[in-house]
Point group: C2
Chain length 143, copies 2
DNA sequence: TTTACTGCAAATCTTTTGCATCAAC
DNA sequence: GTTGATGCAAAAGATTTGCAGTAAA
C-alpha cells in the first residue's frame, strides 16, 4: 500500500520542503517494522548525521501527524509511538503485567467501528488502537 | 456498587494507614462525577489543607492503582484521569477536533471483550477505555 | 515504639518554544 | 531572494525520588 519515499512525495506535493533531516526521519519511520518512538528515530538519524536536533524530529512528527501521514499509538509507556499511516493497520493487545504486545487483526474491531458510526454518528479512528489487559501467560501465573 | 468510604475501608483492611491526606484524596476521587486528574485532586485537597504536597497525591494514586481501587483513563490530554474502580464503568468517545467526550455504555464493547478472551485468551481491561475519532458535529463541519 | 507516610526540594523525562541562522525552492 | 526549516538552549508540564522528620497503629 505504501512504497518507500511515498511520504516524501506527498510532503513535496503539498509544498513542504524536503530537507535531508526530513528524509532521514522518514526513512527511519518507513523502515521500522514495529512502531517507533521519537527518541528511537532521533537515535537512528543522529548515527548518520550527528548534527540534527531532537526538536526537528518532534516538529517533523507533528507535521506528519497533522497531514495524516503517520499515526500515533500510546502503549502506556509514557511516550507515544509512530507508524506510517498507509502501512497496514492493526490493533494491539498490551499486557499490563509483562508488557507483551500482541497484534490483532484490523477486522476484529470493524463491527465496533460500524456500530459507533451507525448509532453514535461517531467516526472512530481505530488505527493502531491499544487495548490493555492481561495475556494468557500472566493469567496462568496468577492462578 | 460503591459507598463513600469503601476505598478507605479496603485500604485499612490491607494494612495501609489512613492519614488525613489519604482520606481527603479519597473523598475528592469518590465525590467527583467525572474523571479527575492528579492536579484537580490536589487543588481540592489544598483548599482544605494547604499543607499537602502534590507528590502525596501521586503516591496515593499509584497505591490505589496498584491495588486496583481506581482506574486510569488517558483522554489524550497529556495527563491521565482517575475514577473509583467500582463506580460503574463506561467507555468514552473522544472527538479529536472539538475535544467533546461522549459516554458509551459498557455493553457496547462486551462482545469485543468476549472475542478477545475466547480467541486470544486475553483478558481485556476495558474499564474507561477512550476511543478517539470525530463526532457528528465536527464531521458535519468538514462537509 | 515502630516504620509507613509525608513534605520539601530537586531531579527526571518527554515534548514544546523563541529566536537567530541557514538552506530548499 | 523568500521564507520555511533547523539548531540551540531554555522552558514547560507531568511525574518521580531521596531524605529527614512526623504521626498512625
Amino acid at each position: 500500500m505504501n512504497q518507500p519515499g511515498d511520504i516524501a512525495r506527498k510532503l513535496r506535493e503539498q509544498g513542504y520542503r524536503l530537507t535531508p533531516q526530513r528524509l532521514m526521519i522518514l526513512s527511519a519511520i518507513e523502515s521500522s517494522d514495529a512502531h517507533i518512538s521519537a527518541e528511537e528515530i532521533y537515535a537512528q538519524v543522529v548515527a548518520k548525521y550527528p548534527h540534527v536536533n531532537i526538536s526537528t524530529v518532534y516538529r517533523t512528527l507533528e507535521l506528519l501527524k497533522r497531514l495524516g501521514l503517520v499515526t500515533e499509538t500510546d502503549f502506556g509507556e509514557g511516550r507515544v509511538r509512530y507508524h506510517p499511516a498507509g502501512k497496514g493497520h492493526h490493533h494491539h493487545l498490551v499486557c499490563q503485567d509483562c508488557g507483551a504486545i500482541i497484534d490483532l487483526d484490523e477486522s476484529v474491531l470493524t463491527p465496533v467501528k460500524d456500530v459507533l458510526l451507525r448509532e453514535y454518528k461517531f467516526s472512530a479512528d481505530l488505527r493502531h488502537l491499544a487495548i490493555f489487559g492481561r495475556c494468557v501467560k500472566c493469567r496462568a501465573k496468577k492462578a
